[in-house]
């Protein structure tokens, strides 16, 4: 490749080819996951060997890579974001803010942190933006290959394992990816496949028209309406027929019945190797604030509207308190029929609406208190007389 030639990279490739990087006596353990498909032209760069490069004449590649230890970065890597994902009886909600920051600067106020991988899987990314973009594309590629080879989709847990295995060789380097995979596992019939594709096409058309979904001002959390289409209404009725409505007491039981084959899944993968499956996952500098709201309001038996409102509220609160999160909120809802995207909403409006609501509440409380004081004065006079006379 041209860039490799310019950098003189090929000269040093001999010593760090995958065969010698992997000590043979370790067995199959250290085989890179990129050997899964030997026919591909995709050659991945193993992480630089810091100790063996000291004696080598510095090439352009090695000087930029190996001299970067965690203590001498050219610039501070910041991971300011709020992303969250949670499962409930009717699918998965994935939400994130849209601010991309670098130290004190907002690099992009309208970045997209939730990327669809395929029809039933989206990934919330946080960490270093470039790393996330790259690894998201790598994951999409590998999942598509799996689907073509095995004629079925890889499960969410499988995708998480795949991503975790691919990131493992880069542990200890500056790769920083914290991804939350949100999706629906399930066996698919041809009909659902077709309907998913139809939904995806219609969805794109809807997004381009950019209908703003209505948000009512009265309720504190705001009941939100998804941009709905006739087809989707019918399909959502089918979904409700498929998914049993459950009470909160049976959360564990239901999850175990779901956990067998199909159902909502959310899985967290981190570049330092942590891989977690759970019900509520939130990542980023704003995640503590989001967790507080989510833990309070989450129930397995939530309706879609409640879940969307909860996610919105969580991101809104996190963006309020966290300086590195803000601007807009993106929201995806994944069900057995695929993902649906809610229009991007500017949280500035929500903030002003909340202030108005607070002002109204304060006024009402003032009025009530004045009325109560007025009543007490009238009653109080009687008491004073009685004390004196008594």
């Amino acid at each position: 490749m041209a860039l490799q030639d310019v950098c003189g990279f090929l000269e040093t490739l001999d010593d760090i080819s995958p065969c010698t990087y992997l000590p043979n006596e370790m067995g199959y353990m250290r085989r890179t996951p990129f050997e899964f498909d030997r026919d591909s032209a995709f050659h991945f760069l193993p992480p630089p060997q810091q100790c063996s490069r000291k004696n080598r004449a510095p090439t352009l590649f090695s000087s930029t890579f190996s001299s970067l230890s965690p203590h001498q970065q050219p610039f501070q890597l910041s991971h300011g974001t709020t992303t969250l994902g949670f499962i409930f009886q009717d699918g998965v909600i994935a939400a994130a803010d849209t601010r991309a920051s670098c130290k004190g600067l907002i690099c992009c106020p309208i970045s997209q942190k939730i990327m669809p991988i395929h029809s039933h899987l989206v990934v919330n990314t946080s960490g270093s933006g470039a790393d996330c973009m790259l690894w998201e594309r790598i994951l999409t590629r590998e999942m598509r290959l799996y689907q073509l080879r095995h004629r079925k989709r890889l499960s969410v847990n499988g995708a998480a394992k795949l991503l975790s295995m691919m990131l493992h060789p880069f542990k200890g380097t500056n790769v920083c990816v914290a991804a939350t995979l949100c999706g629906w596992d399930g066996e698919e019939t041809q009909e659902t496949l077709q309907s998913c594709m139809e939904i995806a096409d219609v969805k794109k058309a809807v997004e381009q028209d950019s209908n703003v979904s209505a948000i009512s001002d009265e309720s504190a959390q705001g009941s939100v309406k998804m941009a709905s289409i006739n087809e989707q209404d019918e399909i959502s009725k089918d979904t409700q027929a498929l998914n049993p409505t459950v009470s909160d007491q049976n959360t564990k039981n239901v999850q175990s019945t779901f956990g067998g084959r199909s159902g909502p899944r959310v899985c967290y993968v981190c570049s330092d190797g942590l891989q977690l499956k759970g019900e509520i996952i939130s990542v980023g500098s704003g995640s503590p604030y989001a967790y507080a709201v989510l833990d309070d309001g989450w129930r397995w038996g939530m309706t879609v509207d409640e879940a969307v409102a909860l996610a919105r509220e969580a991101v809104f609160r996190a963006t309020h308190w966290d300086a590195y999160s803000g601007n807009n909120v993106d929201l995806f809802h994944i069900t057995a029929h695929g993902w649906r995207r809610r229009d991007r909403e500017d949280l500035k409006e929500e903030y002003y609406r909340e202030r108005e609501r607070e002002k109204k509440k304060i006024k009402e409380r003032e009025k009530e208190r004045q009325k109560r004081e007025g009543d007490e004065l009238v009653e109080g006079e009687g008491d004073i007389y009685s004390v004196h006379c008594g």
Binding site: K171, G172, C270, G273, Y291
Partner: protein
Amino acid sequence: MEYLIGIQGPDFVLVAADNVAASSIIQMKHDYDKMFKLSEKILLLCVGEAGDTVQFAEYIQKNVQLYKMRNGYELSPAAAANFTRKNLADYLRSRTPYHVNLLLAGYDEADGPGLYYMDYLSALAKAPFAAHGYGAFLTLSILDRYYRPGDSALSLIRLNKRFILNLPSFTVRLIDKDGIHDMEKLPVAPGG
């Protein structure tokens, strides 16, 4: 901080691990299982650096299962412990050492119950009781004081309940000649 404890009885081994999976200050999961089942009667408890624990433990787990598939019989706890130690030691001086602390607990038909303590420098020791984590500082001295080799399972479970630290809940499992049994998940009881 993560915590593991294992106690060997006359014909069983009792092990417990906390259930927290944390990422800096946030407790991301409070029902995370740190025990890996190597075979019907061997458990590997693994704590340490985030990705290393699962990677290493799963590697050992799959290799032990592969041995059974190839040879038709399972590795004994002692053999599994030494295999684990050898792998950990081999990686120690490589570019990618695994920073994991392990407890391996198993029941052998011939030798009886066994508890093996292994740390990240691949030091292996067979011990009647062992613990990892900050909690180990506290519990090892209590175990020294109260442990009797012939203790029954119930009394040891009670002993276990006493030293639950500031961690919300624990998974407790018992290994005896009938295999691995789940004891109830212990939440913290105020006042023990």
